[in-house]
């Protein structure tokens, strides 16, 4: 029993906190060493598998590296070579197209679902479970399954459905026009449940007094959603937005397994290109180019998040 009287009194989710936590300095000499010891696993794992590789990326992007010879400094050659690669601009365009489609299709869907589901009073668990189920399907299984659904023949699963409405079969993944949309639809299906759960959790934290105040002012349901629910979710919406941009900019699994970048490089994304530079059997082994491109991608992503944070901050203060 660890529960003592004072704990029981402290409400688990108390809104009231002491304004200034009592500071206790000195008289804890042993804790300095103990803290260091407790931090040791983290320092070791992060050091070797996170902090060091991050620094190495910067160095390697300036080097010509293969696994045999000693690395040789080549200045900005790797960057120049990557920027000269016409495939890079194709990959950038494709990735932006994927991100855009994911924003149009994948961003509003979980929000709408969550707001609707939050009004459900009976069998709520069932709704959440159904929405979340695709998330627990392993992504590789999901892609391979959907690859079958997207079969281009008239007996393909989606084409069968289209056939009921007299629509001719679509070559989902083989057609340059529909390939990317097909990828986005699958990845939205696969990821949506997680976001729904995040929104549902955030919705329970919306203070009911705000709705009541809006009702006293005679607000309609729609106005309550617009003026109470959405503003209250602003923080979460910002987080999921950034997460989605950062995530879609790194999309790999779908193009890699669905199309391998085809048809005619229409679904080659930046990450797929990085993978190809470093590990593909045909090109492969060009670690310099791969790190140079990943570094550029990282900078763009960091700028995007920084810009977005700044924008939203200035909007919310003015």
């Amino acid at each position: 029993m660890t529960t003592t009287a004072p704990t029981r009194q402290a409400a688990p989710r108390s809104a009231v906190r002491p304004a200034v936590p009592p500071r206790r300095r000195g008289k804890r000499r042993g804790t300095g060493l103990a803290a260091l010891l407790f931090l040791l696993p983290m320092f070791a794992v992060f050091g070797v598998f996170s902090w060091l590789p991050i620094l190495q990326t910067a160095v390697m992007s300036l080097q010509e590296t293969n696994l045999v010879d000693t690395p040789e400094f080549v200045g900005l050659d790797n960057f120049a070579r990557v920027l000269d690669d016409p495939l890079l601009w194709t990959a950038v365009r494709n990735t932006m197209w994927f991100a855009f489609l994911a924003l149009v299709i994948g961003y509003p869907a979980p929000l709408v679902l969550a707001v609707l589901m939050n009004e459900v009073r009976r069998l709520r668990g069932l709704y959440s479970a159904l929405a979340y189920l695709p998330v627990v399907v392993p992504p590789v299984v999901a892609v391979l399954l959907w690859k079958f659904f997207y079969d281009a023949g008239p007996n393909g699963l989606f084409n069968t459905v289209l056939g009921w409405f007299g629509v001719a079969p679509v070559a989902w993944l083989q057609d340059g026009g529909t390939a990317m949309v097909s990828l986005v639809v699958e990845s939205t299906w696969a990821a949506m449940g997680g976001t729904v759960i995040i929104y549902l959790a955030a919705l329970t934290r919306v203070p009911p007094e705000l709705y009541e105040a809006a009702e006293i002012d005679g607000a309609s349901v729609w106005r309550k959603v617009w003026h109470v629910t959405l503003p209250q979710l602003r923080g979460v919406l910002l987080i999921t937005f950034i997460l989605q941009i950062v995530g879609t900019a790194q999309v790999f699994l779908e193009p890699f397994l669905f199309t391998g970048g085809g048809p005619a490089n229409r679904t080659t994304t930046v990450l797929l290109l990085i993978y190809n530079y470093a590990f593909a059997s045909s090109l492969g082994g060009d670690y310099g180019a791969a790190t140079a491109l990943s570094l550029m991608l990282a900078v763009v992503l960091a700028l995007l998040s920084a810009l977005y944070f700044r924008l939203t901050r200035s909007w919310s203060t003015t």
Partner: protein, 287 residues
């Protein structure tokens, strides 16, 4: 926990509103059944359907014949059992490493509070903003240097470098009443005892959340295990399945997909509350 959403109880008593709610919720449930459960059920059906049936009429509700041998063939002849075990081992190790790193670090930063706590938190937080792709090549070369290729450690150890876990645990511990820690310290508990007897038992909710994230992430992982585990004998399902597609008949392949989905879905159904209430960490200080 609020017991109301956009609609007030007054709204809910209005018969017009009620019928609209009923309609919307009916559609919502139907849609969720179709998109959430539909593909999974389809996979379950197709796993025991002969290839010809699945190809000819993929949407037939009831196949002409059942072929339960698909599952057996997949499990034994296609050696799904082996890849399944690999997947479990990979998930288990990644889980253990992540839990160890996140709990010890979270405890040190949040409860022991060394003076450099802000700095360390900052450096950990910073890795969140570094997309994992940046690490891909140097991390791969690190693994090569350490001769960990084809070793499970190549997956387990990097999994521990998860800033999200550390921050999650830290934030959770920050929210616990400090009086408990102080009381324990006054009673003579050292840091280790404080960690084992006070903080760990109080951390059950966050342990659950981190565990779920860890197992799910490991089960999902594809690119990294594919790179560092080139030997099929040590590969998890996620890496092996795309390769199998090329030389296994469709019905057996779909059976293999179904088997791969079974454990995560079963885990989800059993620990549903953990998955679905993961964000809400209320009731942390219950006895």
């Amino acid at each position: 926990m609020t017991d109301r959403g956009v609609l007030s109880s007054h709204d809910r008593r209005n018969p017009g509103v009620r019928s609209v709610i009923a309609t919307v919720q009916g559609l919502l449930l139907g849609g969720l059944l179709l998109i959430g459960l539909g593909p999974v059920l389809w996979l379950a059906k197709s796993a025991v359907t002969p290839t010809q049936d699945t190809l000819r009429a993929p949407l037939a509700l009831w196949p002409n014949g059942f072929d339960f041998a698909n599952l057996v063939t997949a499990w034994t002849r296609v050696e799904i059992d082996k890849y399944f075990l690999n997947t479990v081992l990979l998930a288990f190790g990644a889980w253990a490493v992540q839990l160890l790193v996140a709990m010890t670090a979270g405890f040190a930063l949040s409860v022991l509070r060394p003076r450099y706590r802000k700095l360390v938190t900052g450096v950990v937080l910073a890795t969140l903003f570094v997309p994992s792709v940046v690490l891909l090549v140097p991390l791969y070369l690190t693994i090569t240097d350490l001769s960990l290729i084809n070793s499970f450690w190549a997956v387990w150890l990097p999994a521990g470098a998860n800033a999200f876990n550390v921050l999650l645990v830290q934030r959770f511990l920050d929210g616990l009443p400090r009086e408990v820690f102080e009381a324990a310290t006054v009673d003579g508990a050292g840091p280790l005892r404080l960690f084992v007897s006070v903080v760990l038992p109080m951390s059950r909710p966050i342990l659950g959340v981190v565990s779920v994230f860890a197992v799910i992430a490991s089960w999902k992982d594809f690119l990294w295990p594919m790179l560092v585990l080139p030997d099929p004998a040590v590969q998890p399902l996620s890496v092996r399945l795309p390769a199998l597609q090329r030389f296994v008949e469709l019905d057996v392949f779909l059976a293999a997909l179904a088997i791969s989905t079974l454990i995560p879905v079963a885990l989800f159904l059993v620990f549903q509350r953990l998955f679905l209430n993961g964000g809400a960490l209320g009731g942390a200080v219950k006895g």
